[in-house]
């Protein structure tokens, strides 16, 4: 589910983490900020996904995202926007958890290689990107 009961069809070449990062950025930008869970949660999720999609992920980010998303919906916010911004995170991570975990694990492994002095120039440049 992509949020406000909308369906977006994408093919299997699309980076699912990047797609969710894009969606969450939209929600963080749209949140009015009136009530706490949505105001803080939407930007938090967006920042996490931005990090994850820019090579700074962690293996645990999938569960981390779910926990943030779980704090927003279920009648805790004034309007349905809170639900809408957390649903895509909940459903993307539920349906494609292995992709999120793999992405985070890959980033973690690369950082480990770099800090151990094994990282090539190419990978350093990638991480900085």
């Amino acid at each position: 589910m992509s949020g406000s009961s909308a369906i977006i069809v994408v093919d299997d070449t699309v980076d699912i983490v990047g797609a969710l990062a894009n969606l969450s950025e939209f929600y963080a930008h749209e949140s009015c900020g009136q009530c706490t869970p949505c105001r803080e949660g939407s930007l938090w999720m967006s920042k996490t996904l931005h990090r994850l999609s820019h090579g700074q992920g962690r293996k645990g980010d999938a569960d981390y995202l779910l926990k943030i998303a779980d704090n927003i919906p279920g009648g805790r916010t004034i309007c349905a926007f809170g639900e809408a911004c957390s649903w895509p995170v909940q459903s993307f991570v539920a349906k494609f958890k292995d992709e999120f975990v793999a992405k985070g694990a890959e980033d973690e492994a690369r950082r480990a290689r770099q800090s151990a002095g094994l990282g090539g120039e190419k990978e350093t440049a990638e991480a900085q990107h």
Binding site: P37, E40, G74
Partner: protein, 581 residues
């Protein structure tokens, strides 16, 4: 309805239906309607019920005297209502009790009305988890700068974090940065990073102060409290927003970085800047006053006070305070001076004594002066002090105790009408002894800019003809005051008195509320409370033993002043008693 036919001013309140609700399993009966923030009857809310049940529901944006916003989501609770069958009749459990249908979604206790049979759950795992979630959200972008924050010690974010929060943070992203040390107005500083956007300050400013200056700019997590560009947040009630700010976002320029709040001793007192008599707490430490904060009293000031009154305390600690008893300019002792004064007064022929009291003195002091007055058949009065009133709290009468002066017989319906007579009496040589308490009688009406710090800005003293030349004709001029002025310099006997923060006593407000105040700090130098030495003086003059406690003095006064009949010091309580004025 028979109640409607009653014609008196206080018709019996219409009976409000009581309903039964349960809070965490405890059943209690509550009225279906309760007063809302304006005092109008509105459906009773869950938070009011929980308060009645003594069950704490944490909240940030909710304030009993502000309109409900419901945006902080801290007061979320779970609840259930009696389940109804298809025939709209309540379903029963096997044991005959009503079956409760638990709501799948939580509700904010501050804005949700209760209904008969409702059950509220404030401590379920779900509620605890929601509070943790909200606190986590509030804290992720908070600077966590408690060690340098003025609110530390009285901060709801700190308190609720300890009570309901999680021990650690899992936030690893970069915090949102917002403006810090924003100069919102002449008395207020904003740290937008500390702000939790509860909007209490906005609602207070709009709905209570009636000056719609504050608002929120930007969206989402970048929300920031702001004034309209180019305008200052400068009404006379801005400092109340510092009190109601649950965190350290709004700070008082006067108090910030001055003292940690946990060191402050709170003393229950009364503001003396006008006749309204707002109840205040004086925050002091080691004989120094750091701030006034309003003290709740529904009958007088509610939860608020004006900035002018709140900041009018610095004169108490001026270094040029009168500290010594002076007899003809030479330092003396209380015993000696009071004996000499009593001796002079006893020798004074009837009608040769005049007393100018002050409506800034307490009821007890004015009553003691009135006893001297009746003993010597003296003429007396006090000074009027008028200013600009406002719609909320500020009274046009800038004296805290005009009614006290009138009720004890020092002044009359219109304060100040005897002053010209006193001037004439001195000029004509009839009045030879003048007692002046707490008034600079030779001062003329002056421009606000030339007023001393003790004087509030808008008062004007009427021209009454008592000049320095007139005072020079007196045989004896006895003056008691707190700060030096033109009159104290002319005094033959100068008795240093105390500010209200340095003594106990009571005032009668413009609306006839008799309220007592307590001592916060020690008097300066040799100064003594006026009631204390007046008591000695009355005792010296009359030979009757006085009271050595304010309690006894007040109770004695209450017996002799008709308006105060039946009052006792203890009976005044913390919020005072209304009398007929």
């Amino acid at each position: 309805m028979s109640a409607a036919t009653k014609t008196d001013n206080n018709p019996a309140p219409t009976a409000i239906e009581m309903i039964k609700v349960k809070v965490d399993g405890r059943e209690l009966e509550v009225p279906r309607l309760s007063p809302d923030w304006q005092g109008k009857l509105a459906p009773t809310t869950m938070i009011q019920v929980c308060e009645a049940a003594k069950q704490d529901v944490p909240h940030y944006c909710y304030h009993p005297k502000l309109p409900v916003a419901g945006n902080c989501r801290m007061c979320l609770v779970e609840f259930g209502t009696p389940a109804l069958g298809p025939d709209r009749k309540p379903l029963l459990n096997a044991d005959g009790t009503a079956r409760i249908a638990k709501s799948p979604r939580p509700a904010i206790a501050c804005a949700t009305p209760v209904s008969p049979g409702m059950e509220i759950y404030t401590s379920t795992p779900g509620v605890k988890q929601m509070r943790e979630g909200v606190l986590e959200s509030l804290l992720i972008n908070h600077p966590l700068d408690c060690p340098i924050c003025d609110q530390a010690g009285e901060c709801k974010l700190q308190e609720y974090s300890v009570d309901y929060g999680q021990s650690g943070s899992r936030f690893v992203e970069a915090k949102v940065h917002k403006p810090k040390s924003v100069d919102l107005g002449p008395r207020i500083m904003l740290d937008a990073e500390r702000c939790i956007l509860c909007t209490r300050c906005i609602r207070f400013t709009k709905d209570i102060a009636g000056d719609d200056k504050l608002g929120i700019v930007n969206r989402g997590s970048y929300n920031t409290i702001s004034t309209f560009p180019g305008t200052a947040f400068d009404n006379n009630y801005t400092l109340n927003t510092v009190d109601i700010c649950p965190v350290g976002a709004l700070t008082s320029k006067d108090f910030r970085f001055q003292m940690r709040v946990w060191f402050l001793k709170d003393t229950k007192s009364i503001c003396t800047s006008c006749g309204t008599g707002c109840n205040v707490h004086i925050g002091s430490r080691e004989e120094k006053i750091y701030r006034y904060t309003p003290r709740e009293n529904e009958a007088v000031n509610g939860h608020w006070m004006c900035d002018e009154g709140r900041l009018n305390y610095k004169w108490i600690q001026r270094t040029d305070r009168l500290r010594d008893v002076l007899v003809h300019g030479c330092k003396s002792s209380w015993g000696e001076a009071l004996r000499e004064i009593a001796h002079k007064l006893k020798q004074a022929p009837p009608g040769s004594v005049a007393i100018i009291g002050s409506a800034r003195q307490t009821n007890e002091e004015l009553w003691l002066l009135s006893r001297l007055k009746s003993r010597f058949g003296a003429i007396s009065d006090s000074f009027p002090r008028d200013g600009q009133p406002d719609k909320l709290l500020v009274s046009a009468d800038k004296n805290p105790n005009s009614n006290g002066a009138r009720l004890t017989g020092i002044s009359f319906t219109e304060a100040g009408i005897n002053l010209a007579k006193i001037a004439d009496g001195i000029q004509g040589g009839v009045i030879k002894t003048l007692l002046v308490f707490g008034e600079n009688v030779v001062k003329r009406a002056v421009s606000p800019a030339a007023l001393s710090e003790k004087e509030t800005t808008t008062e004007a003293i009427e021209v009454h003809g008592i000049t320095a030349d007139v005072l020079a004709k007196l045989e004896t001029l006895i003056v008691s005051d707190i700060l030096p002025n033109e009159t104290t310099r002319l005094a033959h006997y100068l008795l240093p008195g105390c500010a209200h923060a340095e003594k106990r006593g009571s005032f009668t407000s413009t609306k006839g509320r008799v309220q007592k105040f307590m001592q916060a700090v020690e008097p300066a130098g040799d100064a003594r409370p006026e009631w204390d030495f007046l008591q000695d003086l009355v005792c010296n003059v009359t030979g009757k033993e006085g009271f050595h406690s304010i309690e006894g003095l007040f109770n004695e006064m209450a017996k002799s002043v008709p308006a105060f009949n039946g009052l006792t010091w203890a009976g005044l309580g913390e919020t005072g008693v209304s009398v007929k004025i």
